[in-house]
Symmetry: D3
Amino acid sequence: MPIVRVEMWTGRTEAQKKELARVITDAMVNIAHTTPEATIIVFEDIEKNNWAQAGKLSSDE
Amino acid sequence: MPIVRVEMWTGRTEAQKKELARVITDAMVNIAHTTPEATIIVFEDIEKNNWAQAGKLSSDE
Amino acid sequence: MPIVRVEMWTGRTEAQKKELARVITDAMVNIAHTTPEATIIVFEDIEKNNWAQAGKLSSDE
Amino acid sequence: MPIVRVEMWTGRTEAQKKELARVITDAMVNIAHTTPEATIIVFEDIEKNNWAQAGKLSSDE
Amino acid sequence: MPIVRVEMWTGRTEAQKKELARVITDAMVNIAHTTPEATIIVFEDIEKNNWAQAGKLSSDE
Amino acid sequence: MPIVRVEMWTGRTEAQKKELARVITDAMVNIAHTTPEATIIVFEDIEKNNWAQAGKLSSDE
């Protein structure tokens, strides 16, 4: 059942996403009592010039 | 009023999206009693290496 | 694989959501060539005072 | 930087969300090399009659 | 065309949302050169026990 | 605390996003009484062939 959406700046490698997928799925199964098959994770890579904090694009920092 | 967001793996053609837009809009109008003009559909193409199920990236299957 | 998210004003009945789930899933299967089991639909009911168009809350119209 | 969004059926307790917040944040820090302070997690509880799979509302299963 | 989604902790009043809707729509029109009618804003009120930062639910702080 | 997500057709320049980030953050601070540092804005550029209204892809209009 759970859908997990992870938004991060671009730059994370495929190896990092693999590891995140494994660990987050384990957490959902162990803590939220769902099954691995029912756990979907979607990664979204956001460019720094599409992300702002404190009123400034992160590409400007 | 309705906003429909469709996340699919990349690979769907523009013809498929056109057809989906038409059919889903018809469904919203006929079943949810809205107007075509008020129905917005946003497609998001997700790469298989940004999608995980059962703890594995879909690009690894 | 596909995740479909439907945001509508509150007020749609469970019967309407059932019908939408059936028709949208059929569309995903027939047009986007996925399976029914892989098609997840999430409905979000939005109160009119949480929705604005043309700079005005929809509850004010 | 990362924003993690977790959609689950209603019914998860506050204790489970606390534990998920802790473990997912640790994963983001250790694997994606961000800081705890920069990691935001948003939980969304979805009623079963707002969730459909295989064309059926989950409240009907 | 633009869809703006604003996630905030519960507690903002309807007057605040009205003002935000007005000001954000003006910004979209003046800066992004769209029309008021094409600008949709959706507010999502998030309970503090559904929001975590630094690994802790905001309701615990 | 607030997360603002802005979906627009591709074509907005970085200068426009900078200005939007500044103005929307000011609005959140002044109207919703948060801090600039706590205000995150994510822009998503949507291709016109991934956007439909009235049952038609916007790239066809």
